[in-house]
């Protein structure tokens, strides 16, 4: 300890005082240009804007809420899934607690090989599920969602994952935005991690969800470039979703349908008060598989399938362009740039790495705390989420390294081998057709 305090620490501080601001920016150009501006400056500017318009937003919200209750529309909740039987009773109980009750619940069992059909039929017989549909052959999540869509009678379709539970006002809050602006075609709910106490892996994801979903999506909504409605909790106008032909083959079908809705001329917004809790993977092995799938879908859908968004054509729309560009830029381009940054450091500042790496970690940790503060400002579960704060220093390793490695691997596999078509998440028969037709 003594040598650290007497020699290493003073030398480290002295080094950074001596390099000056110019060299500091040169060394940490990646952090200053991309991370700091995006995750600190933009976050706080939008947070400030959000705060400033709080009163007006509350008035608009109240007017929309009254309009909703005046009309009291019938809505359809659809839950497609495979082997989700164990979650169905909890889901039904969670929905029974909702403040908004004028809904039908439609569950599609996509070729489950467990007790899901028995459980589903039992709940349907007891009147806890309105429609239970069983497909003997698995067709994939998109086909199951489309089948459910066929049976819906509601004006608004709410798509849920079976393993989610909801705040009592979640359903009401996710449909109120439709009464704020008739150009809104879809609303994304606020998905948070329920099992954050289970493991370190779940805790780090809980922090990530708070920062990227809760805060990140408020920001993108404010900028009009919100581009992913989570499959776990999203609401869609039935006429809009029918006009675009429902869901297409995944993985990544939730992002895909959001882009389709945007391309058809409707707005997509995020509603932070519509809170849904879900179980995140509690092991890094499972998380890696999930993230590989998610990251591959960015290339498959954002870069390939919807490439027309970037081209100057008759349907060109700046907000759609920025929505997808922001997504591709901050994920794909910055991932490549980060590797260039690492190479740059190794070549030009090889002898100073012993000062640069600790400073980098320090910067990211500080930024982590600042970002968490903005998440804290927006959160409705501040007290419960306080237990996540001690884990913030680990986020530099989690997002800065672990997720980046996973992302790089996913992009490489998808760019070079189109690996997403081999993902067992979809049945082979569908993947073959998707690959053949370039979806």
């Amino acid at each position: 300890m003594r040598p650290v305090l007497e020699y290493i620490l003073p030398e480290y501080i002295n080094y950074w005082f001596e390099v000056g601001i110019g060299k500091f920016i040169r060394v940490f150009w990646y952090f200053v240009i991309f991370e700091f501006t995006r995750y600190i400056i933009l976050d706080y500017l939008v947070a400030g804007w959000f705060r400033l318009k709080k009163k007006k937003r509350a008035e608009r919200w109240e007017t929309a809420r009254r309009a909703l209750w005046n009309e009291h529309p019938f809505i359809s909740i659809i839950v497609p899934g495979k082997n989700e039987g164990a979650h169905l009773y909890k889901l039904v109980k969670s929905l029974a607690e909702q403040t908004y009750q004028n809904f039908e619940l439609i569950i599609v069992d996509d070729g489950s090989d467990d007790d899901t059909p028995i459980i589903g039929r039992n709940l349907a017989q007891k009147g806890l599920i309105d429609v239970f549909i069983r497909n003997e052959m698995r067709g994939g999540k998109a086909s199951a969602a489309n089948l459910a869509l066929r049976f819906t009678k509601g004006k608004i379709i709410v798509h849920l994952d079976a393993d989610c539970s909801f705040d009592r006002d979640a359903i009401e809050n996710v449909i109120i935005p439709f009464y704020q602006d008739e150009r809104i075609g879809a609303v994304g709910g606020n998905v948070k991690v329920r099992n954050y106490r289970d493991s370190l892996c779940a805790k780090l994801q809980a922090i990530e969800y708070l920062k990227t979903i809760s805060v990140g999506r408020i920001l993108t909504t404010q900028l009009g470039i919100y581009k992913i409605i989570s499959g776990a909790f999203g609401a869609f106008r039935s006429d809009v979703i029918e006009s675009i032909g429902g869901w297409d083959i995944g993985p990544g079908l939730d992002g895909d349908i959001t882009v389709k809705i945007r391309k058809s001329g409707f707005k997509t917004v995020f509603e932070p008060s519509a809170v849904c809790l879900t179980n995140a993977p509690s092991k890094f092995k499972v998380l890696t598989k999930q993230r590989l799938r998610w990251d591959k879908s960015i290339i498959r859908f954002r870069v390939r399938k919807h490439k027309d968004v970037y081209l100057p054509n008759a349907n060109f729309n700046w907000s759609n362009f920025f929505a997808l560009f922001e997504n591709v830029f901050y994920n794909v381009i910055l991932d490549i740039t980060w590797w260039l940054y690492i190479i740059d450091m190794c070549i030009h500042f090889n002898s100073s790495l012993k000062f640069i790496i600790p400073m980098n970690l320090t910067l990211y940790t500080v930024v982590g705390f600042v970002q968490m503060t903005s998440a804290y400002i927006f959160s409705e579960r501040r007290k419960e989420e306080l237990c996540l704060w001690p884990y913030l220093p680990l986020m530099s390793f989690y997002t800065g390294m672990y997720l980046r490695f996973v992302r790089t691997r996913a992009y490489y596999q998808e760019f070079v081998f189109r690996k997403s078509y081999d993902d067992p998440w979809n049945p082979v028969k569908s993947s073959i057709q998707a690959k053949l037709n370039g979806f």
Partner: protein, 453 residues
């Protein structure tokens, strides 16, 4: 050899063959002549099948074992299978030796049967006749399909003295005897019975979950792999082709372009689409429509004697210690007659000791339960006993006369306790009949009274 009658008065004609004497009967009225009982067998001689049928039924339907067990052979006409089963076969000039041999065999067995056996009621009488018939014929009792029988089957020998509508009682008695190991058997069929009239002629139909209409059309669901569209086949049909309504592509090859993951029911009455089409049954006899859970089923089988059954045939009930009435009592109850004796005894006790003792009666309004079949009534009886018994103490006595009348003695219960018990029983029993049979609370009463000397 030619069959020849021995010259006698017309009503006492008989035929002799190798020391065996057969009464020759051509009219049912001849059966009342006691001379027939002395013969080794009966030859039925009539060219009219109705007359033959009547004679056979009268023989087998008799109360006298010497007559109903008598070997009977039909001469001259061919009978339908179930009537053949009432006789012991046909007789003609060619098969006399075989008939004689069979007659000797049957009579040897009849000699072993207890012909004076006690028969206290219908159940005992039916069972005794059944075991005696199986024992003397040394062949199983077989059911015959018959459209005129409510349950679709007849046991000719037992049905001879009962109308076809009583078949179910026979089946119940035989099945009960099988469970009690008096009979053994092989199940040939299972019949489903109407909840209201016990008819086995039910029509099963799939119905709409929403409007209960039977006008349903089944359609395949088609999943187009390319675009993940899923919908009924009618969505895809364009003439002879299948074209996806979402992406306008032709579906060429099942398994490659598309598959059919399930089926869907379209209701032609209310347009409701569903994968569920609950099956309902409609009775062809009374028209009652019911859910399948309300249908009771019964086994139809052939029956043979067990060792215990043979004992019953040869020794009767009195030597067997078998009392069917006591056996059929619900668990936790005593017989009605025994209860009456205990009630008298309790009266006596109250008179001598001045002790407080109470008696309770549960009475169902039989009129409101008329729609229940015999089986359902028995189930209701068992269920009521199952509910009442746990509320009674070990010293209390419960009895049920039939499905609608129950009585219980409360020799050690105070009046407030009894009132509480009365309320509890009334609440629970009303719930039972209200929830399961949708009958109002007035259909049942629980009454309490003090036993007065």
């Amino acid at each position: 050899m030619v069959l020849k009658s021995i010259s006698r008065p017309a009503h006492q004609q008989h035929f002799e063959y190798e020391g065996l004497y057969f009464a020759q009967v051509n009219r049912a009225s001849q059966l009342s002549d006691p001379f027939i009982l002395d013969k080794d067998g009966i030859f039925v001689e009539s060219s009219r099948s109705e007359e033959v049928q009547q004679i056979l039924k009268q023989v087998r339907g008799s109360d006298n074992p010497l007559l109903y067990l008598k070997p009977v052979f039909v001469k001259s006409i061919k009978l339908p299978a179930h009537l053949v089963a009432l006789s012991d076969g046909a007789v003609n000039d060619e098969n006399l030796r075989r008939v004689a041999k069979k007659t000797i065999g049957i009579n040897q067995q009849i000699a072993l049967v207890d012909r004076q056996a006690r028969k206290s009621d219908f159940k005992e009488e039916t069972l005794l006749k059944a075991v005696q018939f199986i024992f003397t014929r040394r062949q199983p009792l077989k059911p015959f399909r018959n459209r005129k029988a409510m349950c679709g089957y007849l046991f000719p020998f037992l049905n001879a003295y009962l109308p076809a509508s009583e078949n179910l009682r026979i089946i119940d008695i035989l099945e009960k005897a099988r469970k009690e190991e008096l009979l053994s058997g092989k199940i040939l069929d299972k019949i489903n019975l109407c909840q209201a009239c016990d008819s086995a002629f039910l029509n099963f139909r799939e119905t709409c979950t929403k409007c209960h209409s039977i006008d349903l059309v089944t359609e395949d669901l088609i999943h187009h792999f390319r675009c993940a569209y899923v919908g009924p086949a009618s969505d895809f049909k364009q003439g002879d082709d299948l074209v996806c309504p979402k992406c306008d592509k032709s579906l060429r090859h099942i398994g490659i372009d598309y598959d059919k993951p399930s089926e869907i029911f379209n209701c032609q009455t209310c347009n409701h689409q569903s994968q569920e089409a609950p099956m309902k049954a409609a009775c062809a006899d009374c028209g009652n429509e019911m859910e399948l859970s309300y249908i009771s089923s019964k086994n139809i089988g052939t029956y043979q004697l067990t060792a215990q059954g043979e004992k019953l045939a040869t020794q009767g009930f009195k030597n067997n210690g078998i009392d069917l009435n006591e056996r059929s009592l619900p668990v936790g109850t005593i017989g009605w007659e025994f209860f009456r004796i205990m009630h008298q005894q309790e009266k006596e006790r109250v008179r001598m000791t001045g002790h407080l003792s109470l008696v309770g009666v549960i009475q169902l309004d039989t009129g409101q339960f008329e729609f229940l079949g015999a089986d359902s009534k028995e189930k209701l009886r068992q269920e009521i006993v199952r509910i009442v018994r746990p509320y009674l103490r070990s010293v209390d006595v419960l009895s049920s006369k039939n499905f609608s009348t129950y009585a219980f003695l409360l020799p050690e219960t105070t009046v407030p306790e009894a009132r509480q018990l009365q309320e509890t029983l009334a609440f629970n029993l009303q719930k039972l009949i209200g929830h399961n049979l949708a009958i109002g609370s007035k259909a049942m009463q629980v009454k309490l009274s003090k036993i007065n000397a």
